[in-house]
């Protein structure tokens, strides 16, 4: 409560705990590719300030769903490792990690960032399955945007493994073929505290905030996924302001991707 009042009073003066402006990302933002190149078909590390997240892509063969016989599949998973924060505990996935995983998943799935039809090897029988696993290494706020960025970076880094003559995966040998990407979704989450908006929060700011809206944009400015979080309401006016802010700020993250 004391922290909330403090954060609020700072925002009223247009500043924050670490001296940033409300609409300012932490510096530096960095992306490193191939951090698990030996094991994963694609991998990346994203740092936003002291928040660090790694993501890896594994590709495997499987059978398609009966209602989508000519489409590959994707699965996005986030595990909030207790290694990364004193606030995370061991055990089955918490609701926070499930929400994080599902929002990240939706951003990639709903705009068909990957052309799922091109992941089909034989209709009704054999398809590629894309597994994206995301892990915070140091959780210091804004995991929504960091996880989404790390997922896209790892997907861009991924190369198909070779298939042997029986159409089985040969993990030891990789091709030069990237995943069939058609769009690049980027997530920007705007947080609301009192009547102020902010982005890229620290953990204390996340706890103090009343509501958040995660908005995922593709290159042409279209929105492909959204999620309102936390238990306070937002108005239509809020939504408009938050979307406008997110649209500008997501471009800064987009620039970081190769």
């Amino acid at each position: 409560m004391i922290k909330k009042d403090y954060i609020k009073s700072l925002l009223d003066k247009g500043t924050r705990i670490d001296g940033r402006k409300p609409d300012q990302y932490r510096d530096p933002i960095s992306i490193e590719y191939g951090v698990s190149a030996k094991s994963a078909e694609g991998s990346a590390r994203v740092k936003i300030g002291d928040t660090e997240v790694i993501a890896g892509v594994k590709l495997d063969l499987g059978t398609p769903y009966s209602d989508r016989p000519d489409e590959g599949t994707i699965m996005v998973n986030v595990e909030l490792l207790p290694l990364s924060s004193p606030l995370f505990e061991s055990g089955p996935p918490s609701i926070d990690s499930i929400e994080l995983a599902r929002v990240t998943d939706r951003g990639i799935r709903e705009c068909h960032a990957i052309d799922f039809k091109k992941l089909c090897i034989k209709k009704g029988e054999k398809i590629w399955m894309v597994f994206v696993d995301i892990y915070p290494i140091n959780a210091d706020g804004n995991l929504f945007d960091a996880c989404a960025l790390a997922a896209m970076a790892a997907i861009k880094d991924a190369r198909f493994p070779k298939l042997d003559e029986d159409n089985n995966v040969d993990y030891k040998n990789r091709t030069d073929d990237p995943l069939p990407l058609s769009k690049t979704p980027i997530s920007c989450t705007v947080w609301k505290l009192g009547d102020k908006y902010l982005i890229d929060p620290l953990v204390d700011e996340e706890h103090a905030a009343d509501a958040r809206v995660t908005i995922v944009f593709i290159e042409n400015g279209q929105i492909c996924a959204m999620q309102k979080g936390k238990d306070s309401e937002i108005t239509g006016k809020d939504l408009k302001a938050m979307v406008e802010l997110a649209e500008i700020k997501q471009q800064e993250l987009r620039k970081q991707l190769k």
């Binding site: 890896g56 004193p86 892990y135 290494i137």
Partner: protein, 236 residues
Amino acid sequence: MKYTERFDGRKPEELREMDAKVGVVKNAVGSAMFKIGKTVAIAAVYGPKDLFPKHLQNPKKGVLRCNYNMVAFSGAGDRVRPGPSRRSKEISMVTKNALEPALDLSPFPKTVVDVFVELIQTDAGTRCAGICAASLALADAGFKMKDLVCAVSGGVVGGMPVADVDYAEESFEGGSVDIPVAMMPRNGEITLLQLDGEVSKEDLLKAVDLAKKGCQDIYELQRKALREKYAKEETK
């Protein structure tokens, strides 16, 4: 099948290239990264903190808890299913047993100290890399320790005793023995010893000796990593 020259050209006693860094997870009380060849382990320490349920508490000293985990994309082939497995639970236990003799938690009765070890890329030798990282992380956290714990595998590959068996050697068709060893280098006490494969008494002792020599190299690197962080802080 005889094995006369190592696949990657190393000498029998030579370890893969290593790297170690202390303080890689800011949120943690202590943390470290340890890399040997392509195997990369990150360890973070949290605590001491109150331990519940109460019957797990030790009134004389703090309890050490270790958790070893491979991230889903870190395996050589298929995706590793998230969550604990029989394998990861056993490795968590031997990791704890390997570290405990070096650690004095008597100043913190009734508490728990958690060590989390994550493998982000693997090429055999993961439990040893995890132990090296964990011991550095505990030192970084400032716990009283008798010594650092160093770990590397000895092995016999196609009849040749070697140190630091990698994945290609582990799967050598002509037979391979893997002997993970952890020790406290100052007095040479062994705190982890396991063996997979078939080996003569003579070769076993040779392989353990090679592992113990390897531990000395790791010891140097670990001390260098600690000095890198703390020597810098002293001069500030």
